[in-house]
């Protein structure tokens, strides 16, 4: 659920444990006119950031020392659209209940990011 006020940009939660990639994606997402919440590579920090409300989430699955699953669960509970950022084989580490959520293959180009966010936010109420 979006808590966005009219005229404000969508807030996109970005969870990615890799600094280089996270920075690159943050810049791309901001260039597309969204506001980035994060980025962060930690589940605990992502959950804290989430409490401020976001319109969509992009979640890296394997955060090295943990899986992103708790963040995905919280977004499900909040009925917030989100998709997974996957690389190679890490998608199969996710519990099966997430298999029908969108998966975006990393690394995403600018256009791919734009398309991904369009898809996620098209169902948004406002």
């Amino acid at each position: 659920m979006s808590r966005r006020r009219l005229g404000e940009p969508h807030r996109v939660l970005l969870v990615e444990d890799q600094f280089f990639l996270a920075e690159l994606m943050r810049e791309e997402i901001e260039r597309l006119g969204y506001r980035v919440v994060g980025p962060t590579g930690s589940v605990a920090e992502a959950l804290t950031l989430l409490s401020g409300g976001v319109s969509a989430g992009l979640l890296d699955i394997n955060l090295g020392t943990e899986l992103v699953t708790p963040v995905a669960e919280e977004l499900v509970r909040r009925e917030t659209p989100f998709g997974f950022l996957t690389a190679y084989t890490d998608a199969k580490m996710l519990p099966a209940r997430f298999s029908h959520y969108p998966f975006f293959k990393k690394p995403l180009s600018g256009e791919e990011l734009a398309a991904a966010l369009d898809t996620l936010l098209s169902d948004d109420g406002d």
Partner: protein
């Protein structure tokens, strides 16, 4: 009187006929039986014998009336006469297993011979060929000793699951002795969640044939749950069905499989990260190197090479982490061609998740020093020291980078990508801290990396 005689005569004839018939029956029986039998009188003289007896004793019809001990025979026994006399004396049957010259085994029985009037009038000696039985017995014994000695668990149950055979390996693996296992339900070693499928297996066994292989779990006497690989063989014998489970504990193999999976996962993550790092570095290096393609090429190659060296080191350490000294050396040495650096610190292995961020930070410090700092002038020095410090709730690795003797330093006007990473990468990726200062005497950088007390992946 005459009449009376005739009656007696007729009765006698009837009796003779009856005896004749009985005799004929007996003759037929003696001729046809496979059991070697010799009838002897109280003096152990031959009264009669069956045809089968001629295989053991060289008997001919004229031997009737001769002492048996005078007849040549192939029964390998120390004393044949003694037991016969003993039976005559005690009237107790005698039984023993004997062999003939060809190695066939016989069960030899000596019984008192009773006349119609229940008078003991000699002995009957019989030989039953038990070679087949003996062979089967010794074969069974052989199989049982093999089954006992094998390292594989062998458990044989009936279709109710009642254990009939339980070998030594079963005792060692599952903890129950044969006495505790045999006669009990095998379900005892099947974990709750697999009981239903176990019962189904038992129920479906009759009529089934051949062998099936599958993985299962077993609970030991101590309550430990083991992963086993099982081969089930269905045995049909005399109309009843038995199930033979040949099992091997693969718990350790499973654990090493899991470890390998974990390693693969880690490796996958690292490879993915490396590729995206390369992509991100390329992207950022292009943006920041501005106009000069040479600049890009040099910076980019330096970063990729640093990554490559660390990966090589990680893979040599089987992805278990890299020694700090080695990590510093790998990143600093290529830029310290004049031996201007000194490193100092205890032996310590950097956890694998912190290796790359730390290496990238050290690489950026090294290239910066080579371009603008202490390594750009012959009299410059770089000192790298590290130590483990106590930080609630665990410990942290503190690395201090200190340059001196180089050109006077002023803070950079624009922040390049390397500096961005240096300032924020450690914090972002390993939740550590970086204190970077451009002091006039030289760059100083203190990095602190928290160490997970639980031991990192």
């Amino acid at each position: 009187m005459n009449e009376e005689l005739e009656t007696v005569n007729a009765e006698l004839n009837a009796k003779i006929e009856e005896v004749g018939r009985a005799n004929a029956n007996m003759e037929n029986l003696l001729a046809s039986t496979q059991i070697a039998t010799v009838f002897l009188d109280a003096g152990l003289r031959i009264k009669g014998y069956t045809r089968a007896a001629t295989n053991l004793f060289k008997l001919i019809p004229s031997d009737r009336g001769r002492p048996l001990m005078d007849v040549a025979h192939s029964v390998e026994v120390d004393d044949l006469e003694g037991p016969m006399r003993e039976v005559l004396r005690t009237l107790e049957p005698h039984e023993e297993t004997v062999h003939d010259g060809s190695g066939k085994a016989y069960s030899m029985r000596i019984l008192p011979y009773r006349t119609e009037e229940n008078v003991i009038d000699g002995v009957v000696i019989t030989f039953v060929d038990i070679s087949e039985l003996k062979r089967a017995e010794s074969e069974a014994r052989r199989f049982v000793s093999v089954a006992q000695a094998t390292e594989d668990v062998i458990v044989i149950v009936d279709t109710e699951g009642t254990i009939e055979f339980w070998n030594q390996a079963a005792t060692e693996t599952y903890g129950y002795t044969p006495e505790e296992a045999i006669g009990r339900d095998m379900a005892r070693i099947v974990p709750e969640e697999e009981r239903a499928s176990f019962r189904q297996l038992l129920a479906e066994a009759p009529g089934g044939e051949g062998a099936a292989e599958f993985e299962a779990r077993r609970t030991t006497r101590e309550g430990r749950v083991l992963d086993v690989s099982t081969t089930l063989t269905i045995i049909e014998e005399n109309g009843s069905t038995k199930l033979a489970f040949t099992e091997r504990d693969v718990t350790d193999r499973k654990a090493s499989d899991r470890h390998r999976e974990l390693l693969l996962r880690e490796l996958d993550h690292r490879v993915k990260n490396t590729l995206s790092t390369v992509e991100a570095i390329a992207e950022r290096t292009i943006v920041n190197s501005g106009h000069s393609m040479d600049d890009f090429s040099e910076t980019f190659r330096g970063r990729i090479r640093a990554l490559g060296r660390i990966h090589k080191e990680l893979s040599e350490q089987k992805w278990e982490g890299v020694e700090v000294a080695s990590l510093v050396d790998q990143t600093l040495a290529p830029y310290d061609t004049g031996g201007q650096s000194s490193v100092e610190g205890d032996e310590f292995t950097v956890p694998v998740h912190a290796t790359l961020p730390l290496a990238m930070a050290l690489h950026e410090l090294s290239t910066n020093a080579a371009k603008y700092g202490a390594l750009s002038a012959p009299e410059g020095r770089v000192n790298v020291r590290w130590r483990i410090v106590s930080r609630e709730p665990g410990e942290a690795l503190v690395i201090e980078w200190k340059e001196e003797g180089g050109p006077r330093v002023s803070p950079p006007e624009t922040t390049g990508y390397g500096m961005t990473f240096l300032q924020r990468g450690i914090e972002y990726e390993v939740d550590g801290t970086t204190d970077l200062r451009f002091e006039p005497d030289g760059v100083r950088c203190v990095m602190e990396i928290p160490l997970d007390p639980s031991g990192e992946l």
